[in-house]
């Protein structure tokens, strides 16, 4: 892709991100009542103390000024203090982020691992019973409420069969020193294969719950892309040349059918960020999603605000990556 186009695309992101920041700022302004009173909760304070807190939080300044302060601080990674933790919001978030990333990546790997082989198989064996099962399965996949499906998985695998843990990320006995914050990586660094295995066991159900709807969508995309590719002239030509079916599908068709799947996968990763809140709540996964839900009930608004902004920026970045990947993989498409 020409550099100029790339720069143009990057510049295009600026108004979008600015708009995102305005909306996140406005969300706080929508909060009914005085943020200081909400923060104080049941604690008694003198009017002087309230006034001084308002000054400290900059609430006595005009909205436009407060917005610019918010954006400038946000760019520096300063989102203020978490009311509840009495620590900087950014520190609390960065502590919980690795668990969420780990879960999201695992979910995406499961989604891709299920969707691509099934999608290809359904396309190659089009209109057979296998294709129908895959299609019906994908309809179920997108219709399953994740919070409920997770509960069913817990009931079956953790309560009934007792082969997987009910919730959490790692038992106390298995704790390893946090180096990267990613439990899988940290257990490898510590050379603790038992912990590594334990994290994997804890990851299995939440990652599967989170990944299933994306698997369903990716499967459909792969299937329809593969069906289209298999109709192309160059496939007919390859068949005419006498190439084996396996070689045609595996080498020639798959490569092109994967183009839409890759960009949809990048987009779906963004969607998984939303799903994280629900799945982390069901499985007691100590990630950012659960932190956000807890913070809402604790009225810890600075943290909610920072997390929503972080999710949105990540989503924009993933969308951009999806566009980019699509162009790189498919030279016929211009950004």
């Amino acid at each position: 892709m020409p550099i100029a186009r790339f720069v143009e695309r990057i510049l295009h992101l600026i108004p979008v991100l600015a708009g995102v920041s305005v909306i996140v700022f406005l969300m706080i302004s929508l909060t009914p009542g005085d943020p200081v009173e909400i923060m104080l909760g049941d604690q008694r304070a003198t009017p002087e103390q309230v006034a001084s807190m308002r000054r400290d939080m900059g609430l006595d300044r005009p909205a436009v000024e407060r917005y610019f302060v918010f954006v400038t601080n946000a760019i520096r990674g300063d989102f203020g203090q978490s009311f509840f933790h009495r620590r900087p919001v950014s520190a609390v978030i960065s502590e919980r982020l690795p668990a969420t990333i780990e879960l999201t990546v695992a979910a995406m790997l499961i989604a891709i691992g299920l969707a691509i082989p099934l999608g290809v198989l359904a396309a190659v064996r089009r209109d057979t019973i296998l294709d129908r099962i895959a299609t019906v399965g994908s309809l179920f996949g997108v219709s399953l409420p994740g919070f409920w499906f997770g509960i069913l998985l817990i009931l079956f695998f953790a309560v009934q069969l007792q082969i997987l843990p009910v919730a959490g990320r790692l038992g106390y006995a298995m704790e390893v020193p946090a180096v990267t914050g990613f439990a899988l990586v940290d257990s490898l660094i510590a050379g603790r294969m038992d912990s590594f295995w334990e994290v994997l066991r804890h990851l299995a159900l939440p990652a599967f719950t989170l990944g299933l709807p994306s698997a369903a969508i990716l499967m459909r995309v792969t299937r329809s892309a593969m069906i289209e590719v298999l109709r192309a002239d160059y496939i007919t030509f390859a068949e005419a040349k006498g190439l084996s079916r396996a070689r045609i599908i595996g080498l020639h068709a798959l490569k092109n059918a994967l183009i839409p799947a890759v960009s949809v996968a990048a987009l779906e990763t963004g969607t998984l960020l939303g799903g994280n809140m629900v799945v982390e709540t069901v499985f007691g996964w100590p990630g950012l999603g659960r932190l956000v839900v807890e913070s809402i009930f604790a009225r810890n608004y600075p943290l909610v605000q920072a997390a929503v902004l972080l999710y949105a920026v990540t989503y924009v970045a993933l969308n951009f990556a999806a566009d980019l990947l699509y162009t790189v993989l498919n030279p016929r498409v211009r950004l």
Partner: protein, 291 residues
């Protein structure tokens, strides 16, 4: 000329939709749920918030300890699950319909304006849409609900604020294509006003994709409502909501699986039916799918 040749496209589409057996079956499920929602006070065996602690976690009728007066058992407060399910259908269906109707209405007006007038209106609306799409849907709704507080009114608003963008994009695209077609040019040449062209010429011709988007999005909206209610950010107790019912049952998973499982099954049945029916509807009505 044969009879088939004079059939109107709409009648033809309906006939095709009715031939799709799974879509018809799915539509029947939706109708049953909708009827249950409408007639809830008359058909529910018990009041929605009728608590009886003696019946706490009573199993469904087919299990030991169950009775047919409470066919699906009782929840942690001894409330009849079937009755709450029937009243919960009201929340799912009414939020689904209300949000989609408002969002499609706003999206259609904005899409027609942006697509037909182009210029500043289009730039502003498209930018706003792009900014709203930058938020993962659930995050956006959770963020708004966190700030405005739970409740039906806020829930509908939080979903509409983001949902209208979907129909906006479809309508804008369709309008951009339609404005170049001869019938619009002819109306313009005859001196028709912009409003007349948008509402009388273009709108009737792009109704099919608008209806298709509406039905497809209903499933997403219902699922979002259930997710928000599950997180405790949607409809609040004592109003019954399927998502909140699943959440309530989580505390009794080991002793009473039915409290969470049954409302979850209801969500699955409704969302799956809407997805299957809307797929059939789309295949039958979307002109681009016609052969």
């Amino acid at each position: 000329m044969s009879a088939a040749a004079v059939t109107s496209p709409t009648a033809f589409a309906w006939r095709r939709a009715l031939r799709n057996r799974s879509a018809v079956g799915a539509a029947a499920v939706i109708v049953v749920v909708a009827l249950a929602a409408i007639f809830a006070p008359w058909i529910a065996p018990h009041a929605v918030d009728d608590t009886d602690l003696l019946r706490r976690l009573q199993p469904p009728a087919w299990m030991d300890g169950g009775e047919w007066a409470f066919p699906l058992g009782c929840d942690g407060l001894g409330r009849d699950i079937l009755s709450r399910l029937i009243f919960g259908a009201r929340v799912s269906i009414s939020i689904g319909l209300l949000v989609v109707a408002l969002a499609v209405g706003i999206g259609t007006i904005a899409g027609l304006t942006a697509g037909y007038l182009r210029g500043t209106a289009d730039t502003l609306l498209s930018r706003l849409a792009e900014i709203l799409l930058a938020f993962p849907y659930l995050i956006f709704a959770v963020g708004l609900m966190a700030m405005t507080g739970p409740g039906l009114h806020n829930l509908v608003l939080a979903l509409v604020y983001r949902e209208w963008v979907v129909s906006f994009r479809v309508v804008r695209g369709e309008t951009l294509a339609a404005r170049e077609i001869e019938y619009v040019e002819a109306a313009r040449a005859l001196g028709a006003s912009r409003l007349h062209i948008m509402t009388r010429e273009i709108l009737p011709n792009i109704l099919s994709p608008i209806l298709v988007v509406g039905t497809v999005r209903m499933a997403t909206v219902i699922m979002l409502e259930a997710s928000l209610s599950f997180l405790g950010l949607g409809v609040q107790s004592p109003t019954a909501s399927w998502g909140a019912m699943v959440a309530d049952g989580r505390d009794f998973l080991l002793d009473a699986w039915w409290v969470s499982t049954i409302p979850g099954l209801a969500i699955l049945a409704l969302v799956l039916s809407i997805n299957v029916a809307s797929q059939g509807f789309r295949d039958a009505f979307d002109p681009r799918m016609r052969t």
